[in-house]
Symmetry: C2
Subunit: 178 residues, 2 copies
């Protein structure tokens, strides 16, 4: 950040009065520009025991497999965002269910919030965001071709929990891998 | 947002190619400035059956009671942020426990993530952010003087769950109240 988004003046980095961290502060209008972690919302969609995965059509990690998910927007709930991403990435209609994973992805300055979800119909398809979409048995998960650490973590917990007949939530910190 | 924080040029509002929402885009350097919900982290601190509340020393809702919490910073986990806020608002050392509430606060463009926490010692005190701090029985919660809808929602679920001998998590949407 170089310039004040409010008045266009070059910002300075300093600790505002009463604060404890350096922020980008505007010497002209006084605006303090905070930068905070972003929320990624998504879900593991299920239809009659099979789950849906998408092969990413965009960077980062183009060509690798993931669950439908993306940045939460303003003016939507986490559940609405996760359902929106399911449409945008796989053309599926889902009902969001229980919380699966709350992941600290500190290296990317993100928090990932993943739910379980239920596909309302078996219909799905590719979109500009996905090269390929498939509905698979959990035994067919391509563990070595998953896009992100949180994708793998969420799917491993999903599989374990389902085998145990429970729907637990998990809080975890993802390690940088790529 | 009026100016590009990267190069200082006046931004325009438009839907970038492949996107579905209007964003502030720089016509000079091409930067797209996304604005997303912010995360507030906090906890309900407990010490030998009593819980700790703070009376806010800063706006918004100065003078009203709340649990220690605040904006999550970059480069920290949710749990670390919640523990940091407990120090900043009440000078307490806590161990973060189970997830209590994941709240959509859409009107404020925030997500609140509240945990249960355990005070490691009974020591507490006021800070520039708190006018008053107290360790109270749950029967003494000042229900009519709480700062935010999420404060009340978290405390009600906390009390109910404790009475039931469980530590559930809750996902909810907060209604604008003030």
């Amino acid at each position: 950040m170089n310039f004040c988004s409010n008045c266009g003046t070059r910002v300075v980095l300093k600790v505002p009065k009463g604060d404890h961290l350096p922020r980008h502060v505007c010497p002209n209008c006084g605006a303090i520009h905070y930068v905070n972690p972003k929320i990624v919302v998504g879900s593991v969609p299920e239809y009659q025991g099979r789950i849906l995965l998408c092969r990413r059509g965009i960077e980062p990690r183009r060509g690798f497999w993931t669950i439908p998910g993306g940045f939460m927007e303003n003016d939507e709930t986490m559940e609405a965002g996760a359902a929106r991403e399911a449409v945008e990435e796989a053309l599926i209609q889902v009902e969001i269910g229980s919380l699966l994973l709350l992941a600290n992805v500190t290296s990317a300055r993100q928090v990932h919030v993943f739910f379980r979800s239920r596909m309302l119909t078996p219909a799905f398809g590719t979109t500009p965001e996905s090269l390929e979409v498939k509905l698979i048995d959990t035994s067919e998960i391509p563990w070595n071709e998953l896009a992100f650490p949180s994708t793998e973590y969420a799917l491993r917990r999903y599989v374990e929990d389902r085998a145990a007949g429970v729907e637990r939530y998990h809080v975890a910190e993802m390690q940088r891998r790529f």
